[in-house]
Amino acid sequence: MKRNPKELDALYRRTGRRALLVGGLQLAFAGGLALRMRYLQVEEADKYRLLAEENRINIRLLPPARGRIFDRNGTILAENTPSYRVVIVREDAGDVAQVVADLGRLIELDPQELEDALEELERSAPFLPVTLADRVSWKDISRVAVNAPALPGITPQVGLTRHYPRGASFAHVVGYVGPVSDYDLSRIEDPDPLLRIPRFQIGKTGVEAKRESLLRGKAGARRVEVNAAGRIMRELDRREGEPGADLQLTVDADLQEYVHARLQGQSAAAVVIDCENGDLRAIASTPSFDPNLFVRGISVADYRALLEDPYRPLAAKAVQDTYPPGSTFKMVTALAALENAATTPEDTVYCPGFLEVANRRFHCWKRGGHGHTDLLKSLEQSCDVYYYDVALRVGIDRIAEMARKLGLGERFDLPMSAVSGGLAPTREWKAERYGKDWLIGDTANSAIGQGYVLASPLQLAVMTARIATGRSVTPRLIRSINGVEQPTGTGVSLGLNENNLRQVRRGMFAVSNNRRGTAFRSRIAEKELRMAGKTGTSQVRNITAAERAAGVTRNEDLPWERRDHALFVCFAPFDAPKYAVAVVVEHGGGGSRAAAPPARDIVLYALYDGMPPLEAYPEAERSRVKAQQERIRREQRRRATVRGDRA
């Protein structure tokens, strides 16, 4: 086809024009791109630089070492021990199934733990370590370490776990730690980011929980560079955290362990308080449990066994349970009456075995009655009628006032779980609680520590210490924090008449030193250390008139849970009170028989700061005491061996 050159020329020019137009558009677009680039890279550079840093830098928390807990002599009660675990990194392992099978031949793997680990392995990034076995013994971990070349991707690691070398003896006081639960997080308003660390443990009960903020410490942090998948490329810098504070308790571990051994087999509680400064030397509840089980994660079966045990091992009975104080309350009634001049130490009351109050017969524990009874005799032989009579004269308000003065009905601020306030009832309290008027019979019941009156073993010990010193002794559990001594609970004078106090103390002395005293058998033979005490037996059941007529069933013939609680409070030495002790044996029967002997043993152990010599005991008791001391020594040796193995 021939072309017209003119036409071609026109076409050529048109194409040329359009090419310049298109070229111009392209250049304009390129210019636009350059402007956009300038905007992003020059004007917005700082913003994007920051975003890039945020992308790249991650802050990882370093958990601080938890503060340790010591007893008053520096014996360790809660420590952080290295625990070994075996971890696997998927990308290094290659054939995971093969490596795990090899490992299984080397050490024993828990099937449940293994299954969880394999599941986690599937989900997590290939470079993240996954724990295959936790709390591996030193022997097993060395075995893994030696065979490391044959186990690609498997590494032994060391971490810290909480350990309680004194085990059950301090389970209720120190408490235990456990992994953070959703419930814990919901309770805390501004949760420490530490709590989000997997497997981080916080205090669940006892001092561990109540002084969590002190013990936890401050988190450290390290800034790391991570890639898009979250893998750490390198560490940029590192700031170590602050370890938690070390706490020293006032408790004497040796005494505490002795108390546990002495009360073994009974559902009981005992508190030893230093009369001088309120230091709690022992605060024991039996039976107990091994807190280490909870740190590890207790099995359902073990936990159910603890829950269903009728002796309630989980309860810190010494502070959280309250009991009718029974006759141990009589000092309160007596002091209230003396202070308010409702009676004098010399006044006597005639006890025929009962007192008619508002057409109801209030019985004395001794059916035949005590005859003419003065203050000393009323305490020594625990005459109920004397106290009915005195109480009706002084009135419930004064009694309640005296009870509170002596620490009953007051909730002491101890760092333990569920510390109870007990109850010193008044007219107002009953009106509010039950909407009923206070009856004269209520006063009679309260006078002998029955009815509405409730006190914890801790409160009874405080009451005894206050009677022994006349000061408002307050219990103290934390002796020092990081070596800084905490204020003591020495207290100030209660403002009670010293003569009245002396009369009451004399009565208590008679209880355990006069031949007719209810705790004469549990006296201390060593003259320098003689103690003053008071027995108590608190009824769990109501004795009906019919039952009384037919003859009251003996405690021993009742099922355990319907027997009386046995109580005993004491202080020693009588001349210069050092320790006050309260013992409650749940459903133990009479106080003189079930509670006074262990209380005496405990106070002696505290005074001698070790196993008391047999000479301290009355001769008739010695052979029995000797056998018992042998048993406890064996138990102490056994525990020491167990600890020695662990250390």
Binding site: Y12, V22, A45, A52, N55, A228
Partner: protein, 381 residues
Amino acid sequence: MSYLEYRVQSVPTGWRKILHLNWPLVVLLMGVAAFGFLMLYSVAGGSFRPWAEPQIKRFVLGLFVMFSIAMVPIWFWRNVSAVAYLGSLALLVAVELFGSVGMGAQRWIDLGFLRLQPSELTKITMVMMLAAYYDWLPAERISRPLWVLVPLVIILLPTYLVLRQPDLGTAILLMTAGGGVMFLAGVHWGYFAAVIAAVVGLVAAVFESRGTSWQLLKDYQYRRIDTFLDPSSDPLGAGYHITQSKIALGSGGWAGRGFMQGTQTRLNFLPEKHTDFIFTTLAEEFGFVGGASLLALYTLIIIACIVTALGTRDRFSSLNTLGIAITFFLFFGVNMSMVMGLAPVVGVPLPLVSYGGSAMLVLMAAFGLVQSAHVHRPRQK
């Protein structure tokens, strides 16, 4: 135009042709490729493997291909245009039937030594076909409707096949480049105005109808359009690329963070860092200075092509060269707009810089055609 119409005597022959190559263009291409080698070396963490070394080899091969094509007279290439076009259409059909699936789309045929992407090839053969068509078409017919329909078919056939793969980026490239060649060939501007008006009208209608009783698309289709147009509405999905890419770009600043110091790239925050998103690495490590330099090189290549096209009175040569320039421009224009967050993410590589065999070889072959047009341009006495 027939062979005889060229003034054969004035066209250099034999090895002398080498002297008449468009050497500035060769230097510009080498400069761009050098940027590519540098970045591929960097994203591999300072290693020639796995990307820089094969890329260098392919570029050397590409140079050889370019020189070989340049040695052959342009009229030969014009005469085989139709064959090349039909051949690449056949390959597109073959890929549809036997192709391997990569990145969620059927794109290549494995030839053993090379993974051939027919869609890359088609970009050039279609331009050749259109240029040859307008070279043949008498001037008075250019704007006649029937003769406008023919190039539309030439464009839409491969576009349809590419869309089926699906490869939206290449489809857009083909249509725009084809339309560009038609415009340059002198088709009446009224057609383009009508098409643009129709497209604008349709898009407006689609968006206007949203939420009304005569809604044209389903709700989920609108939502897909939304994320396509505004990736930041889906920051971990479609938006992730763009967000991270903008962070990389912006954090580069004026002079960049230094060679191999780009944290975004090195720590894998950027996906496809060696292919479609390689520009972000350049911009992060060499900053605005580096990015603008590459853009300047690209622009100079376009100018060199336009100069060549305007310097020849051979219609096939000039239309083909301009078509190739448009294709090349669309490559880097779309890619850069995408990484700068100006355009939705469609898979278009950065020409001669991104890692990839087919694209590099096809582009070098195209520049061979440009060189051939330059060498064999009709000389005036």
